[in-house]
């Protein structure tokens, strides 16, 4: 605790990714001034908003030391449910919104309940969940999109609030602050991190593991649902393919942000910069006319790079602790 502010700041998870983001913005802006045009900033912020909510959905599960492969499938199911309820059953939009968010929470809760109740690995349960939710999605839509997205929803996804700042930023801020507050100041958040750190010790100290794991998955489901609806607003259509490409980026951002995959240690701010870095790189590839297929390679490389850095930091911390003793 006695260490100086600066040393502590540099041990923070988000300083590294933050500096990289800043350097990337400056570097690309110098090479390609149109990068900082209001329109481009608007596009960038819209992408960041959606991807941040997706990443938070994975972050909560990484915090308890598990993984959620079904994140995108839940998001996709919620997206088509939302538009489908309006189009097919004429449900009022606000009501449809609540129902579809509830579907997300319920889907997450079901996975969480089975995982915590049986002790089967989250990987296999959420893999089954992925298949089930995706199957239901395609079974309902037969791979055809729903079109009846209300105009207010379309506007929400495509208009700017002030200057280049999109309305989509609002749900992102709510989700980010909410998760940050939850993890740092609420009992459930503390429990989530404690279980991620050491499930056995958490259990011994009286934490209700079943309830905590179930709630963590429910929160993840809610965030996936939010992201699904944000994408409906942005794309102006209820696409069945929403969520198909979330898997890699949902892990990349938290890992770049310093999250420890065995659980117990995550950073919301770090994850935000992880999302920013990914968005900037994706945009830069478009701006410089580089083959968009290479994005996948870059994302994979970023994960490896971040994992390497995290590992190095872990070893360094272990070394310092050893010396301290």
């Amino acid at each position: 605790m006695a260490t100086g502010v600066f040393t502590r700041a540099f041990d923070n998870d988000w300083i590294g990714p933050g500096l990289v983001s800043l350097a990337a913005v400056i570097g690309i802006a110098i090479l390609q001034p149109s990068f900082l045009s209001p329109f481009n900033i608007f596009v960038l912020l819209s992408a960041i908003a959606v991807n941040m909510v997706i990443a938070l959905g994975q972050l909560v599960i990484i915090a308890i030391g598990q993984m959620n492969l079904a994140l995108g499938a839940v998001g996709g199911l919620v997206a088509i449910s939302f538009v489908g309820l309006i189009e097919v059953y004429g449900v009022p939009p606000l009501f449809a919104l609540s129902i579809s968010l509830a579907i997300g929470v319920f889907a997450g809760m079901a996975s969480g309940y089975i995982i915590s109740r049986t002790g089967i690995s989250a990987f296999i349960i959420t893999l089954a969940g992925l298949q089930i939710f995706k199957g239901i999605n395609l079974g309902i839509t037969e791979a055809q999109p729903f079109y009846a997205v209300p105009q207010t929803v379309k506007d929400f996804g495509n208009l700017s609030m002030i200057g280049p700042i999109p309305w989509l930023i609002i749900p992102m801020i709510i989700a980010s602050v909410g998760i940050w507050y939850l993890l740092n100041h609420l009992r459930i958040g503390r429990y989530i991190l404690a279980i991620g750190n050491n499930p056995h010790a958490a259990e011994l100290s009286g934490i209700n593991q079943r309830a905590t794991v179930t709630w963590a998955h429910a929160i993840s489901g809610l965030l996936a649902a939010m992201a699904g609806i944000m994408l409906v607003a942005k794309l102006q259509i209820g696409q069945p393919t929403i969520g198909d490409d979330w898997l890699i980026s949902s892990f990349a951002a938290p890992v770049i942000g310093g999250a420890v995959l065995s659980g117990g240690h995550v950073s919301v701010v770090g994850t935000f910069f992880g999302v920013v870095i990914i968005a900037i790189i994706t945009q830069a590839l478009v701006l410089f006319n580089i083959d968009p297929y290479i994005v996948q390679v870059v994302l994979g490389g970023l994960i490896l790079w971040a994992v390497g850095i995290n590992r190095w930091r872990e070893l360094r911390v272990a070394k310092i602790q050893k010396q301290g003793n």
Binding site: G65, M67, I120, I124, A128, E142, V295, Q296, L304
Partner: protein, 346 residues
Amino acid sequence: MNPSMANPSLTADAQRPTQGRASTLTRLVLSNEFGLAVLLVITFLIFANTLQGYSSTFSLFTIGRQIGINTMIGLAMMAVIVTGGLDLSVGAIGACTAMVFGYLVQALGIPLAGAVPLAIVFGAGLGFINGFTVVKSGVHSFIITLASMSIFFGLMIFLTKAQSFNQLPPEVPAFGKSKIGGLVSPLLIISVVTCAALSVFYRFTTLGRSMLAAGANPKAAELSGIRTGRIITACHMLTGGLAALAGLMLTARTGAAIPSMAGQLGQDWLLPAFLAPVLGGTLLAGGRVSVIGTFLGAAFVQVMTSGLLLMRIGEFWILACLGVMLLLAVLTDKARQTILRNKGMV
């Protein structure tokens, strides 16, 4: 991710030899493979007697051929589950290998006898990259192979410009269509032979036994002189080689090397890859494999899928059914273990 969860069953396994020979028959009847085989036969008989065309020669041929491919995909994943790890990149490796194969025979004109082994070695090479990175970094294989699946697939799409190789030598599609005895696909034979070879490998060779030992208890294996790091790398290479073989088999079936044959990033292979070994009783925590179980698992899934398709349930709902099947498989396995332990039968 949490190895401690499956530990009770591991210790249960370790206690088995002390039970003596008297219960051999009981153990056989209670074994996962036996249950699965019974289930497989019953399912098949129900479909064969209720659905018209299900047991026609052509239908049996296609079911058998698909069992061959899915078994290979399942074996590929099984080979790495042994270590308690997993490989998300099997589909990407399969697709990459198929494209390399297509390039070798179509663009370079290399004869098949050379191109097939080269392609399999290429797949094993990709597996080596996975294994080496996992061992050197000490990070769980989930995240490493998540990254490598993105990298392998991305590079492949970038290099091929997402174009397929559809001018393969006529022997390739002919092989996929050929029927031995008018009924059995050679692809099924390849898988059966691979199963036999792997059974011998895990039971009788030092390397195979070291793999099981390293998966069951890495620390103990290390102490008894097994170089765990190398063994884990070898497991990933085996996975890569088997995934490559599966990719080639799929190429023979479709008659062309198509970049999207395993779906976006090769994700479409994930379900068959896990479903077959898990149904077959391979422990996700590592240390125990069931080669026959994996074959039976793949067969059961295919017998089921073909039946549901013929019932016109719609292929999209079948996806959901397979998900439910995976869920039921792990749940019943869990229940079975609990019951057996409570009765003190294991």
